[in-house]
Symmetry: C2
Subunit: 369 residues, 2 copies
């Protein structure tokens, strides 16, 4: 089977620090190659992969602050990535709606993995899409706008490279907030919980341009450098060290988080997760076993007091069982085969979307009609 | 010959008010249809044409202020416009670099008419372009960044629908500034000239979002509603009335204007043009015959005092002879045939770009090697 993987140009694959989509693409490519699948990865030229790398532009765009306009690089990356797609059995698109639009010019089946959320504007592309797509969680699927185009082939949860995350059951007494400082991620609520608990909170997170005002107005005044510490954006090494020693990870989600890789990463390190029961959190955290699902800051405070009941080894086992490269790669291979067998060409009229599904060991999470 | 014309989605074709590219596309399509060419126009669905109209999105984007993100509509417009291009002999692209990027996915020759200027970022697309392109003036060609891709097939000057512009040799004593308020268009210099002359100046121009600060800080304080009047953006009817009665049009260009349709429109109405000798102005204005080419505000003031020596009928004749639909359509048909004959596949190594060329009646303005 020959698969053309198209990553966004925003971060390198794998990303040096933040970058969930590119991290998942990396894990998938490495595992597929390990299984003997012929994979070409279209990504920024500074990516690292055992797959065949096709890098149209040598750098990732997020840090390319010297460019006045990044769009032309993105256009060329997607167009030249898809040029010659006919040599492959399937295009697996992780780069969103521009590639979906261009799929009308390519005579090869496309699977789009939805890594973000649909918007009223991107719906214009989705309505006209003729390929297949999968969600990365049931929550994301449920939050998706109704669209007229595409064939939904099921939910495939993201995976992390479990082996690269260091396990420890020897924890320090600090709480951790990791990822991105933005209103929807709730860093201000994590700080509120830490204060009520009288515990230290370490924040390791990037601040996007769009969120600078939120950071300066809301978050920065709450950082005292003692109880609440801001460490900037964490690279892979710092991230692992922070997870490994953290008492627990706080996820006070204020939106329908499509996945939330940090939850899986923390648990892989044996660190429990206390998350608001929104978005994909109920699909990743097993309430009472690998952390707690709560509804507000007060419940979060009470849950943190019970974190010592959670077994670090159970956390890691849960991630190995359900969010590891072999699990994700097997599911994607099932999807690829289904598309190539033509099964997915029929539209799924009503895909089963459970309200708050628990991931079971034998749940293949595929809803192919 | 079957031609697929791809217009930008920014304005309707023809545009109700401002919109040089879409105006030229309209003139070209109507004239090609008149000559029996099979033309499909891909443009906003509210466009008006005698060609076959393919409208992916029903509205033009400039006034679609209800959209949070206009990019997805643009992506889909270009992709679906090019979908099925194989049914045509040639794609004539007026929509810029996104379509040039997608040309790698389309197996039909593409001619791109460059309506803007290249930038260090769009150069990334140009360097990889495998189609043909033409400039709309020698000045634009000279101002273009050196690019590694594409085949330059020559200069084809823009045209206007001369018959739709009312001629008059009975002029009022007001100066006219028309088009767009932006630093590079020099409205503040037109006001300075009008004040030195003690003459009225009518300004009819749009203000883009990016130029609002310039308007408020620099131009607005100079508008007194008496000597200097601001009329907002002119629609087709107001524009023609303003041209018809104007003493002359002022073009104090502060950049390398790629063309400047307003100069041709004013002259078609018998109105002389006093322009800074920059960009394409020397290719459109015949110095001393249809207006004056000057270098600064003081020379502009002196030139306006000599405008009574210019014959309105000579102005209109110049436009009919050189910038009319038949002239432009003939030149594009020559280019189309050259591309289809394969002549243009050879790269033009050093296209002749004269310093300040005068347009002669027999100058076909084609530099096909």
């Amino acid at each position: 089977m020959r698969i053309l993987q198209v990553a966004p140009l925003w971060e390198a694959v794998p990303p040096p620090a933040y970058g969930g989509t590119e991290a998942v693409v990396s894990v998938l490519c490495e595992e597929l190659v390990r299984r003997g699948v012929d994979v070409t990865l279209c990504a920024s030229g500074d990516s690292q992969t055992r797959a065949r790398l096709r890098g149209v532009y040598p750098r990732s765009l997020r840090t390319a602050d010297d460019l006045a306009d990044r769009s032309p690089y993105d256009w060329m990356h997607i167009a030249l990535s898809l040029s010659g797609a006919e040599d492959y059995d399937l295009v697996h698109n992780h780069a969103g709606e521009l590639a979906m639009a261009m799929s009308h010019l390519v005579d090869v089946p496309m699977l789009t993995t939805m890594h973000c959320l649909t918007t009223p504007d991107t719906k214009f592309v989705w309505d006209r899409y003729q390929g297949s797509y999968n969600a990365i969680s049931y929550a994301q699927r449920a939050a998706m706008l109704a669209v007229d185009g595409g064939t939904f082939v099921g939910v495939v949860h993201n995976a992390i490279d479990v082996e690269s995350f260091p396990f420890s059951d020897d924890k320090d007494r600090y709480l951790l907030f990791l990822g991105r400082i933005a209103p929807e991620k709730g860093p201000h609520l994590a700080i509120e919980a830490a204060r009520k608990l009288g515990m230290r909170l370490k924040i390791a997170a990037k601040v996007d341009r769009a969120d600078r005002a939120f950071y300066h107005d809301v978050v920065e005044p709450l950082i005292d450098g003692e109880q609440v510490v801001y460490l900037g954006e964490a690279d892979g090494a710092l991230k692992r060290e922070l997870y490994r020693r953290a008492y627990c990870l706080l996820m006070p989600l204020c939106w329908e988080e499509p996945f939330g890789l940090v939850m899986a990463e923390a648990m892989a390190c044996g660190t429990p997760v206390v998350a608001f029961a929104r978005g994909a959190a109920p699909e990743i955290v097993v309430d009472g076993e690998t952390g707690f699902l709560v509804n507000d800051v007060d419940e979060m405070v009470q849950a943190v007091k019970r974190v010592d009941r959670i077994h670090p080894a159970r956390c890691r086992q849960h991630i190995s069982d359900h969010f590891s490269p072999p699990v994700m790669a097997s599911r994607y291979l099932t999807v690829y085969r289904a598309i190539l067998d033509g099964m997915a060409r029929r539209r799924v009229v009503a895909a089963p979307v459970p309200a708050l599904p628990r991931v079971e060991a034998d749940d293949e999470a595929l809803a192919i009609a």
